[in-house]
Amino acid sequence: MFSIPTFLDSFGPLLWAARYTLLVSGLGIALGLVIGALICAAALSRRPAWRRLAALWVSFLRGVPLLVQLLLMFYLLPVIGINVPAIAAAVITVGICASAYIAEIWRGAIGALPPGQAEAAAAIGMAPRDIWTRIVLPQAVVMSLPALVNELILLVKASSLVSVVGILEVTRASQAQAATTFRPLEVYLAAACIYLLINLCLAGVGRYLEHRMAV
């Protein structure tokens, strides 16, 4: 019934494809965190224009499926004369999409911070950038770590969508493998193991940080 050799044999090609999963999600995460912080800052800014921009950003990127965003990036940008290599398009799209979710997570955590702490910093004339990076974000990041790790894990899995622009990552490789062996169950389980491995690492880092940064 269940073919263990197929299951084991799948790991070779899938692990090879995991390079791209790691590359796209890794860079996507990095980009998402940076842009997410900026968008979150904009969302909490005093200036209505910034706030509107952030709201629009979040609304668009959460509203339109990542698949569609990728297709837009890859198939529509060339129409207006911008051509990006597949891997760059994938990383940028994934990062930008993640930023919207990350910004919302941080916004929530910041909402739960006692306002007195930012006040104490503002009262001595600290620049907003410093208040942000030294007082607000460190605490918000710790507080939101579980939700953030959630999001990053989702991002690793969502990176499978980049196959539409021709990148052979784990999910795509497993589909290919399933189609040659006609044993999708075995192959998909192998793929699940690889995702699990990556995500366990992420969750582990999250737990570790949570532990270390807890005060």
Partner: protein, 257 residues
């Protein structure tokens, strides 16, 4: 420490929605002097203090630090954030609820402003923070986080944090509420030294003895109004206003033992 600062408060109103927390406040805080604010709970003392560094936006009137209007460029038009920041750099504040940063140790709490605002190098800031903490008797708690400090220890970190910045104007909101009498004495001495060095101070306090001993002038607030401002001799030792008399009566009864 630079030149000292003076504060002029003119006809300031402050509303929270319908509720008027400050009513036409007029007060001059002379440079290099200690001004104490006393008055019943909820009378607007904290609100007034917070208006001085514009943490709270006042709705009418003017507050000038060394002649410079704080918060507004012109009536109703806020000043650029950059200028406000600049002005705040010479103003220190100790909050009623301390507002320590929980993710930093006592020492880091004090050093942070020195590094980010005064631009000190890390090592110098750490040394100065240690020095300030020693002054308030916390040499052995420098690497504790606020959650592991007692109430009085937290309050002293807050005081050290403000003092280390060497502001020209210092706003204290009940800086000794969580301190034992001995420490109150010590903080009082620290403040006397600072005053002697020319720092301008505005202190909200419930410790009449503290006010009587350290203040150059005392303001009495009630229900959003500044009822009286004068030397402690007048306001505390020989008050004429019946509200102040009532306010002080229980105090004297209780503290003579």
């Amino acid at each position: 420490m630079g030149r000292t600062a003076a504060v002029e408060i003119r006809r300031v109103d402050k509303f929270y929605g319908e509720f008027q927390a400050l009513k036409q406040i007029d007060l001059t805080i002379p440079p290099g002097k200690v001004t104490c604010l006393i008055g019943p709970s909820g009378s607007g003392k904290s609100t007034l203090l917070r208006c001085i560094n514009f943490l709270e936006e006042y709705d009418a009137g003017e507050i000038r630090i060394d002649g410079e209007l704080i918060g507004y460029d012109a009536p109703g038009r806020k000043m650029p954030a950059r200028r406000l920041r600049q002005m705040r750099r010479s103003i220190g504040m100790v909050f009623q609820q301390f507002n320590l940063w929980p993710h930093m140790t006592a020492q880091e709490n004090v050093a942070e402003g020195l590094i980010r605002v005064r631009g000190l190098r890390k090592a110098d800031a750490a040394a100065r923070a240690a020095e300030a903490l020693r002054k308030v008797g916390l040499a052995d708690k420098m690497s504790s986080h606020p959650a592991r400090l007692s109430g009085g220890q937290q309050q002293r970190v807050a005081i050290a944090r403000a003092i280390a910045m060497e502001p020209r104007l210092m706003l204290f909101d009940e800086p000794t509420s969580a301190l034992d009498p001995e420490l109150v004495g010590e903080v009082l001495n620290v403040m006397k030294t600072l005053a002697a060095e020319g720092m301008t101070m505005a202190v909200v306090t419930h410790e009449m003895g503290f006010a009587a001993h350290v203040a150059d002038q005392v303001g009495f607030m009630e229900a959003g109004e500044l009822v009286a401002v004068d030397s402690p001799d007048v306001v505390l030792r020989a008050p004429s206003d019946p509200r102040i008399l009532a306010f002080l009566r229980t105090y004297h009864e209780r503290n003579a033992f």
